[in-house]
Amino acid sequence: MRNQGLDLYLTPDPLKESGQASVDLIRTLAVFAEAPASEHIHLWKTLGIEDSPSASDYADVFLFQLYPYASVHLGSEGMLGGEAQNRVAGFWGALGRNPPPEPDHLAALLGLYATLSEQIGLVGNSSGKPPRFSEAETLMIHRGRDALLQEHIAPWVPAYLERVIEIAAGPYRSWALLLDKVLRVELVRAGCPKQLPLHLRESSPLADPRTDGADAFISGLLAPVRAGIILARADLARLSSELDLGLRAGERRYALEHLLSQDSSRFLQSLATEADRQAAGHEHRRELLGITADFFLDQAQTTSKLLRQLSEGGAKITAETVS
């Protein structure tokens, strides 16, 4: 397993800030990233969200539009699993925990964050009793929590939530707004990272179809860490509607290929505008995320530039060729 990112946090005084997080709230918000169950209804109500989501709401947001996995957003393939998931699983292992079946699922990451925060709370409450954790364990918990936040949550969750807020309606929009607020508090507490997270250091740039082929280019557009943008089905639907192009039913890649083959130039232009729009979001997060937001801003701007060049150069991109 490669460096898990813990080395970023070898600062001399990590115990200075006890960091009492909203543990129960975070855990509740984590549960909401899972398929809704009847047992969750009272939790939604407790948070003042009266309409609990249906299975169909859940499927639309998490299964069709915005996949809640770090590997999708931080892996060079933009797909589930792979090296990005291995890095997250390795992180669980580095904390001495067995990785769950989907270690990089948002719920799993938030759950782990809540657990570590809870342990920090216990450290803080051990006055008068024998310490619950050794000094080394305490150090590990603090560093582990911050590393989790900076390495595996901050690089994708804020941008992801921004897209949920745009695309989802009803309870999941409320959930995303709330979780975004909670994370902002945690991110402010933790401060900006001093080194670029490993996922980002390991990522590849967006492929240029003129040198690398259309296939690699299209794959890269759907990998947020390479393109700097998150392209959901809803985006493709919106853009195709704006350009009056036909949207083929199918996977995002399939739909994207067909949109490009119908009118490459206009669609590339339209994608460039979308990249600019999402770049603005990264710009807003620079103060909060520091070099992490810089990275994504740069990716999105580079993508925008490439798309415009291709559009203006009259590139014709189909599923397999570029001319």
């Binding site: 855990r27 509740t28 009847s38 047992e39 249906s54 719920a107 607020k181």
Partner: protein, 978 residues
């Protein structure tokens, strides 16, 4: 309100809600979760659990349930189930996993939830039936339990009074319980236990037994570094779910998985190294690996020196008493030198480089080497018992036995508690039909040979019970079974105890409806990890009603129709056999609390839970429950979760009294056997000549518990095999299979039949509509090159498969998932009922059975189709192909040592002929006698080879062990020269 305050307030709200729930002693955040919150209904809420009613969707209507645990009855894993009993109707609405069960941990395969199909099966047998026509004619009348019990009890009583105990036989499929029935048979003094094990797992068991004195493996997969499976246990095998989940855990922790399977099974698809050897060559591959490890010194010398019986081997075989361990090592290298990778490659068809690669992986495992053989090669081949034996050789070389991540013997990971009123007597008479002298070393009863043995011995059975077992369908040579069961001169009375119609029940005199998983009491424990647990099967509606303060005295009060459970049935039957106690058997079924009264089920299990399960009384008391209430509430209890190296444990001082240590280091003591909460069982090692019992073995000056073998050590060399006529097989070695290429005609290929389809479980699951929809047929796997050669153009083409006895017609499945030159067909599927019979419709074809002399045929008349019933789903059946009953065409192949039926077949395959239809079967039972005699000729009978005038080595395992004197052979036999 700013963000920070708002969030803080929300957090406090959730925390307050959480505190309130936890203050009630309950669990917050119920529901499935990936974030380490509660994944199952918290147990404190089992009494009143609320879920939304799925049928009311999209409305959100709450349903209230009582969750009552029980144990699955569909395979031998005994996984925990939770029955969701609707509090309004008191009906079971569904079954889910029981998270309190240490083996299955709340996770189930499809067969567990499908219990719901079984209990609601519209065609299930609800009342006792008695045949009203001739046997097998299909005419039945409903009778009362009293009538059935009196008739059966009367015959057994007479048999006992006339000293014909051996004419009562109880033939059992997978028992699904521990000890109750064996206790009952011991109480009756009847040597009538007849298990199905010789068509199942005797081969592998035998291999383990020769090494360890215990007959099953219990691999610690979760902690293994290397896992080696000879079978398809991960997805499709026995003990499916508890093992599968731990294999995956092991893999997640970095273990390498090696799978030996000629087919690309689901298990093989998960392997890091999949080896598809020519069937029957597996043992040779293990020997080649062992030979390489020995040559290269890649073994645990200290373990071998301490724990193998190498001194005995060197003394007896090599006439070198006092030989050094180095002498033995030199000898070991020499005797295994012939087993090279090149030789193994020639026999198996796997190149030597791959074998070396796998050997390297094995050699890196150290003591974390978890291995398993159950059926597969162990049950397919002549000499298949050497597969488990040579596999264990690898474990024994690495010292990976009873270690974390290694392979344990089953008995150390299983707990069978001592029951009340344990019978002190043993059967006086030996049952020659089940334990024939030609097979003195067979691990279990020679049950599948019954039709032939009955004929050979001109035997008669007065009362023959088949209990949740279906030999006509399951065993080879089923038409011979029909001939035997139809003959009232041979079988006086056949009683079929079954929840469901089956092919054997058609030939019964009485059919007694017994309950499914949620309708009966049983106690179970199985080896599934390095720990010990017990699980309680119970009639869930009885437990539910008792929670509502109803008094239930008989399980029939809550079961559908007049379905009963076996345990109450046996108590009642015993009282009718011995109403006044004069036969001396009633006493074992009398209450201890109220002498002279029948023992109740509650009293029986209360006694066990109070007295024989360490830790349970304390755990129960902590919850304010009695042990019985605890088990009814939670369904399972873990006794220990780290067993460790029992053989290395010191013998306690209080067991060492007037000790004698013999020349082999075996330690004998006059100290009495200390009381144990476990039921007695296992091997029986003789006392020394002065009556001291064996308590352990001296190793490097320490007195340790050792292994339950004659030497107290791991028996690399078996004196028993040596003395009983098999000196050439006394060490782990290679036996060429009956389907070895040398034994095949040019136009024959091997047919593998010993594999399952993932969701079916032999004869028990055809009445499960969900499972049938997933899997309902068993096509012939054939490689494209073989299909080309034979002239099969596409998948689905009909082929005729010719065996020794006849042929069957089946659809082909052309696939690269099978080794070229080998065909395969699962032994599942092909269930049938004769035309004109009532009975089950789901998953069952209607067939014409025709007999002319010894010529039999089975011709399907009707396959699967929709039908009207109380279950609307039966009108939605879309599948028609129900497979073929191939076992009818298999001749008996008893291994001369293990007694295992060697399932692999040598067959000829050709395109179907004109008039053939899928499912056709044709057999000449005249040929089956010849096949039986051919295999019988390979045996070395106790008559000629017994070294001590006994029928069987006394130390070997045996269910319901008869008196020592019953082991003695009749006097006229002569010892043979070996």
């Amino acid at each position: 309100m700013n963000d920070s305050t708002h969030l803080s307030e929300l957090n406090q709200r959730v925390s307050a809600a959480k505190a309130e729930v936890e203050g009630r002693g309950e669990t917050f955040y119920p529901g499935a979760s990936r974030i380490h919150l509660a994944s199952f209904p918290p147990r404190e809420r089992w009494n009143d659990w609320v879920e939304l009613d799925s049928k009311s969707w999209p409305d959100k209507v709450e349903k209230r349930y009582m969750l009552v645990p029980t144990t699955c009855f569909n395979c031998e894993s005994a996984c925990g189930l939770l029955a969701y009993v609707d509090r309004e109707t008191l009906q079971v609405r569904k079954f889910e996993g029981n998270p309190e069960h240490p083996g299955s941990r709340g996770r189930n395969c499809g067969k567990g939830p499908a219990t719901l199909n079984q209990i609601t099966d519209p065609d299930r047998i609800l009342y006792p039936l008695k045949r009203s026509g001739r046997r097998g004619e299909g005419k039945w009348e409903q009778i009362s339990w009293d009538e059935a019990l009196d008739a059966i009890a009367g015959r057994i009583r007479t048999a006992m009074q006339e000293e014909r105990h051996e004419e009562v036989i109880y033939h059992v499929g997978r028992p699904g319980e521990d000890g109750y029935t064996e206790r009952m048979l011991a109480a009756w003094g009847v040597d009538g236990h007849n298990s199905h094990t010789n068509v199942c797992s005797s081969g592998a068991r035998s291999g383990y037994h020769w090494w360890m004195g215990m007959d099953r493996p219990s691999p610690d997969y979760s902690n293994a570094k290397v896992i080696l499976l000879v079978s398809s246990h991960l997805e499709t095998g026995h003990y499916f779910n508890p093992h599968a989940q731990r294999i995956i855990e092991g893999k997640k922790n970095g273990a390498k998985l090696i799978v030996f399977d000629t087919r690309l099974s689901n298990t093989a698809t998960h392997a890091d190294h999949w080896l598809s050897p020519y069937p029957g060559s597996e043992a040779l591959i293990f020997l080649a690996i062992a030979s390489w490890m020995i040559r290269e010194g890649k073994y645990d010398r200290e373990f071998v020196r301490r724990w193998w019986n190498w001194q005995e081997y060197m003394e007896v075989v090599n006439d070198k008493p006092g030989a050094s361990f180095e002498n033995f090592e030199e000898h070991l290298r020499e005797i295994y030198s012939e087993f090279t990778f090149e030789y193994a490659s020639t026999e198996s068809g796997i190149d030597a480089t791959t074998l070396l690669e796998v050997a390297n992986v094995v050699s890196t495992a150290g003591t974390r080497f978890a291995t398993h053989n159950w059926r597969s090669a162990g049950s397919g081949n002549l000499g298949g018992w050497q597969v488990a034996r040579t596999l264990t050789l690898l474990n024994a070389l690495l010292g990976a036995l009873a270690t974390e991540g290694g392979t344990f013997p089953n008995s150390w990971n299983k707990f069978t508690p001592r029951p009340p009123r344990l019978p002190h007597q043993h059967p006086k008479r030996w049952n020659e039909v089940t334990w024939p002298r030609e097979y003195p070393l067979s691990l279990m009863e020679m049950s599948f040979l019954m039709p032939h043995l009955m004929k050979d011995q001109d035997a008669h059975l007065d009362v023959y019970f088949t209990r949740v077992y279906n030999p006509v369908w399951t065993n080879p040579d089923g038409f011979s079974w029909i001939e035997m069961l139809s003959d009232e001169e041979r079988i006086g009375l056949h009683v079929a105890m079954t929840p469901t119609w089956n092919e054997t029940a058609y030939f019964a005199d009485y059919i007694l409806p017994m309950g499914h998983a949620s309708e009966r009491h049983d106690l179970t424990s199985y080896e599934q990890y390095n720990g010990q647990w017990i699980a309680f099967r119970q009639p869930v509606l009885r437990a539910a009603r008792e929670r509502l303060d109803e008094k239930i005295t008989d399980t029939r009060q809550v079961n559908p129709g007049e379905v009963w459970e076996e345990n109450e049935f046996w108590i009642d039957l015993t009282w009718r056999i011995d109403p006044d106690g004069s036969l001396g058997i009633r006493e074992f079924f009398e209450s201890k609390k109220v002498p002279g009264e029948k023992m109740t089920i509650d009293e029986y299990y209360s006694w066990i839970f109070d007295n024989s399960v360490p830790g349970l009384p304390e755990a129960s008391a902590a919850e304010g429950l009695t042990p019985l209430e605890y088990m009814r509430r939670y369904g399972a209890f873990e006794i220990s979760n780290k067993v460790g190296r029992v053989h290395e444990q010191s013998v306690p001082d209080n067991e060492l009294e007037d000790v004698r240590v013999d020349e082999m280091g075996r330690v004998f003591s006059r100290a009495p056997t200390p009381p144990s909460p476990k039921a007695p069982g296992g091997t029986k090692i003789d006392d020394d000549e002065d009556g001291r019992r064996r308590v352990g073995i001296r190793v490097d000056g320490e007195i340790l518990k050792g292994w339950p073998t004659p030497t107290g050590k791991l028996e690399f060399w078996s004196r028993t095999l040596y003395d009983w006529g098999w000196p050439e097989l006394a060490i782990p070695t290679y036996i060429k299979s009956h389907i070895h290429p040398e034994n095949l005609e040019d136009d024959q290929i091997p047919l593998i039949t010993t594999f399952r389809v993932p969701v079916q479980i032999h004869t028990r699951s055809a009445n499960s509509k969900w499972l049938d929809e997933i899997a309902h047929t068993n096509p012939l796997w054939i490689h494209p090159t073989d299909a080309d050669r034979i002239g099969i153009s596409k998948t689905g083409d009909l082929v005729r498969v010719e065996t020794e006895l006849g042929y069957f017609v089946i659809k082909s499945w052309i696939t690269e998932g099978i080794r070229p030159g080998v065909a395969a067909c699962s032994h599942h599927m092909g269930r049938w009922k004769p035309e004109g019979h009532k009975g089950q419709r789901l998953g069952i074809s209607t067939v014409a059975l025709n007999q002319e002399g010894s010529e039999w045929s089975l011709t399907p008349r009707k396959g699967g189709e929709p039908f009207a019933s109380s279950d609307p789903d039966t009108m939605r059946i879309w599948w028609t192909d129900l497979g073929v009953h191939q076992n009818l065409t298999h001749a008996v192949h008893p291994d001369p040592i293990s007694g295992m039926h060697c399932w692999h077949q040598a067959v000829r395959i050709c395109p179907a002929k004109e008039g053939d239809q899928a499912g056709d079967v044709s057999v000449d039972t005249g040929k089956s006698q010849a096949a039986y005699e051919k295999w019988l000729a390979m045996t070395r009978s106790a008559d000629r080879y017994s070294p001590d005038g006994m029928r069987r080595p006394y130390w070997m395992l045996r269910p319901v062990r008869p008196e020592r004197e019953a082991y003695r052979l009749p006097l006229e036999t002569e010892p043979a020269k070996v």
